[in-house]
């Protein structure tokens, strides 16, 4: 399929397990992220169903007390750190290098390390269920509840170290995204022409880099409190539980934007393609992401309105939180204007993307309620908050992620997802989601507290709770249809051409699935919609094309290229390094024997990684 000058390591053509364990190809790494997130989504989803089953009727005894707390904590932790973040990292890994005309990420082996660290960190966290009980202090692990005095078991230690491992994964992948997007863009692809999904991935990477160290420091302090007898969060010895809250939410609120910005990027790609129009207000959509990122670091204390900060502080954080509505609304209006007057094709990706806009607006509006201190005091720690953040993270992030999967599935696999099953999936997910979470607004307003495993009859909460539980099972059925659709399409799905949606961006110019080297010849970019221009040069167009199109040849399939393509060698050492860290963490929680074993694996992985040249033969250098 490609010219003889193309030289990539043989392992890329192999199909065996080893080729996956040693892969440094951003596309395979992206797939590993997405599959891993899918696996953890099953666990997190089952946890959600357990919670809803318990709450279906008053005084239920399905899941009570500590077990309920464990499931609740792991549901939140799983969905945030093991599902939404990694699936977005996975789509970013797969798509962004293709979108910007790069052959791989800037640091291919560090990229592999990131995905192994995620998979092993996720398994480590879930191992806690088998080894003495899962963490049970909620996903924000407030001190001093997490102190040794109140949480004696190892659950909290699994939580601390698991999040540290996942944090390492996020930091390394973010460094990679920043370098890749800043340095490896194709000629002519200026930042002002960068696809919006790449834009939001870039901003998100910076958010992770500046938010993650704060929780990392806090987790270290908590670990020291639990095991070395330090007093950071122990009020009896002068320590300060509020310090935990500040350090946690300095991470925790940007984290919300870490989960929503790439989702907004996906929607900004899908809506124009299916409306057959360019995105309305490209510059505003791109720069509003940057604005959200900046403001996102100045709003964390709105999670702490009820702890008694001075009124001036509350007023500042209240105002800053409301300010986020401005760049967010800019995006919403631009999306609506993009659809407006377009020749809309109502395919599944469009349905999910459009639903994202509607549902995210609801989540954003309830967020404005919560930004007002008096309202927040009224509904803090009630189901109103649960409704709010599920509208942003499920109605928002998850709907956009599903849109992205339907959109890029043909590129990743060379096959379409079934349209009829897709519509059924959409109907079930949309109805199920709203049935589950809309009633929670009313439950919260009438005072039902979150995180409590049961409620008494006669408070007027029975009907809405039962409705929410029914909705949750409809939602789950939607995901069953989704997984069936994926499995069916992988085996017998309709074959997809290279450019199934008449796309705008560069990834549609290579084959489906793309070759290991992505593009035989790196394309030169003249506008924001390089693929569209190549197909329709001469049409009336908002971004005039300077050069004539080079014909309809697929960029990935040129007979010969001028110079040989060198792809990095596969490497096992990133996996060994990640395994070393995980075993080391296991030693800290369980038996000390794992500590030296982990350190040995870590040292072995590191030394061999440094010694192995990045590229085969003597063409490249290593560090």
């Amino acid at each position: 399929m490609a010219g003889s000058a193309v030289a990539w390591p043989r392992v890329y053509e192999e199909r065996g397990l080893l080729s996956w364990l040693t892969t440094v190809d951003h596309k395979r790494i992206g797939i590993l992220y997405i599959l891993g997130a899918g696996f953890f989504a099953l666990i997190g989803g089952l946890e959600a169903l357990l919670i809803r089953t318990q709450l279906a009727v008053p005084n239920n005894r399905v899941l009570v007390g500590e077990a309920y707390n464990q499931v609740l904590t792991m549901h939140g932790t799983t969905m945030i750190f093991l599902v939404v973040m990694p699936v977005l990292a996975g789509l970013g890994n797969y798509v962004v290098p293709l979108m910007i005309g790069a052959r791989d990420m800037a640091y291919p082996r560090l990229n592999a390390f990131g995905v192994w660290m995620f998979l092993l960190g996720g398994l480590f966290l879930n191992l806690s269920f088998l080894l003495g009980g899962a963490p049970d202090a909620g996903w924000f692990g407030y001190a001093p509840l997490t102190a040794k005095t109140f949480s004696k078991g190892t659950g909290i230690d699994f939580w601390i170290l698991g999040l540290q491992l996942l944090g390492i994964s996020s930091i390394t992948s973010s460094i990679n995204f920043v370098s890749t997007i800043l340095l490896l863009r194709a000629p002519g692809l200026t930042l002002n022409r960068l696809p919006l999904f790449a834009w939001t991935t870039l901003v998100t990477a910076f958010l992770i880099l500046f938010a993650m160290p704060s929780i990392s420091a806090a987790l270290f302090l908590l670990f020291l409190d639990r095991h070395l007898g330090t007093h950071f969060f122990n009020p009896a010895a002068g320590g300060d539980p509020l310090l935990w809250q500040h350090l946690f939410w300095f991470f925790g609120h940007p984290e919300v934007y870490i989960m929503i910005l790439p989702a907004m990027g996906i929607v900004s790609e899908v809506l124009p393609v299916f409306s057959r129009k360019p995105i309305f207000g490209y510059t505003a959509v791109a720069y509003s992401s940057v604005a959200i990122g900046f403001i996102g670091f100045t709003v964390w204390a709105h999670h702490m309105f009820a702890v008694g900060l001075p009124p001036v502080v509350n007023a500042f954080f209240s105002a800053a939180s409301m300010l986020v509505a401005v760049p967010t609304a800019i995006k919403v209006f631009n999306w609506i204007a993009t659809i407006w007057g377009g020749a809309v094709r109502y395919r599944t990706p469009f349905l999910f993307a459009a639903a994202f806009v509607a549902l995210f607006v609801i989540g954003g509006l309830s967020g404005l309620f919560l930004a007002a201190v008096p309202v927040d005091w009224q509904v803090t720690d009630t189901y109103f908050v649960v409704a709010h953040f599920h509208y942003t993270l499920f109605g928002g992030s998850m709907f956009a992620i599903v849109a992205g999967i339907y959109y890029w599935f043909p590129k990743i696999t060379g096959r379409f997802l079934d349209e009829r099953l897709g519509r059924l999936h959409f109907a079930l997910q949309f109805i199920g989601f709203n049935l589950t979470f809309f009633p929670m607004h009313f439950l919260g307003l009438s005072g039902m507290p979150r995180r409590v495993y049961t409620y008494a009859p006669g408070l007027g909460w029975e009907g809405l709770n039962l409705l929410a539980t029914v909705g949750a099972f409809i939602l789950a059925l939607g995901f069953v249809v989704f997984f069936v659709n994926i499995a069916r399409s992988l085996v017998a799905g309709e074959r997809a051409p290279d450019d199934p949606w008449d796309g705008h961006t560069l990834e549609w110019l290579t084959s489906s699935p793309p070759p290991p080297y992505n593009f035989a010849r790196i394309p030169v970019i003249h506008s924001r919609r390089p693929a569209w221009d190549r197909k329709y040069t001469g049409n009336p167009h908002p971004h005039p094309v300077i050069e004539a199109a080079e014909g309809n040849d697929r960029v990935g399939e040129v007979e010969t290229s001028e110079e040989p393509i060198h792809l990095p060698s596969p490497s096992l050492w990133p996996l060994i390094l990640a395994a070393g860290l995980t075993v080391f963490a296991l030693g800290l929680v369980t038996h000390w024997i794992f500590i030296p074993v982990g350190l040995l694996l870590f040292a072995l992985g590191l030394v061999r990684w440094v010694q192995q040249p990045l590229f085969p033969e003597a063409h490249g250098t290593s560090s």
Binding site: L182, L189, G229, F232
Partner: protein, 193 residues
């Protein structure tokens, strides 16, 4: 870290390894800022046991400050000599830098043992907790830096050429950063005690 050089399309002409280290260090700033802020919030809330004013002396930390600042000069010279094509001198200055780092760690250990002798432990009070955590994480960064510098010096001796000055430059960036963190710690922990 891998080596990819920017393609022609990028407006930003910088080696990707260098950018990667810069970005990583930016992230580290927040990590140390979190620790230092925690120290500032807590160190005056001692309920029993030694306070910062009672426990800390200036002699060793002042010497240590001079050692680290000198080591940064040595690191600059290592890079300058490598760029001039003088590989042997570069290696010598790298080893000097690493040695100064080791001296810092030895003096830090001496200081810790004095503290422990006087009853200041991480668990004695909230000042002890914060003090050992901030300085301990910094010392760990110094130790990582020493290992990194020695491995670069070893690599330079074996097979790497002056064209690979980015390897020295990246470890240098890290080393200067660790120095800078120490200067901040010196001011916040020792001078403001």
């Amino acid at each position: 870290m891998a080596s990819h050089h920017p393609t022609v399309g990028s407006e930003i002409a910088v080696d990707s390894r260098k950018l990667g280290v810069w970005v990583f260090l930016a992230s580290e700033v927040i990590f140390f800022a979190s620790l230092i802020v925690s120290y500032l919030v807590l160190h005056n809330r001692v309920t029993s046991g030694p306070t910062a004013h009672e426990a800390l002396t200036l002699t060793i930390p002042t010497i240590n400050t001079m050692i680290l600042l000198t080591s940064s000069v040595a690191m600059v010279l290592a890079l300058a000599h490598l760029r001039d094509g003088n590989r042997r001198a570069s290696i010598a200055w790298l080893l000097t830098t690493a040695w100064l780092g080791i001296c810092f760690l030895i003096l830090k250990a001496v200081e810790y043992s004095q503290h422990l002798h006087e009853g200041l432990t991480p668990s004695v009070n909230v000042f002890g907790s914060a003090y050992y955590t901030v300085t301990g994480f910094h010392a760990a960064h110094v130790a990582v830096g020493v290992i990194w510098i020695l491995s670069v010096a070893l690599g330079l001796r074996r097979r790497l050429s002056p064209q690979n000055d980015v390897l020295v430059e990246t470890v240098g960036l890290y080393w200067h950063f660790v120095d800078l963190v120490w200067v901040a710690i010196f001011m916040v922990v020792y001078l403001l005690r």
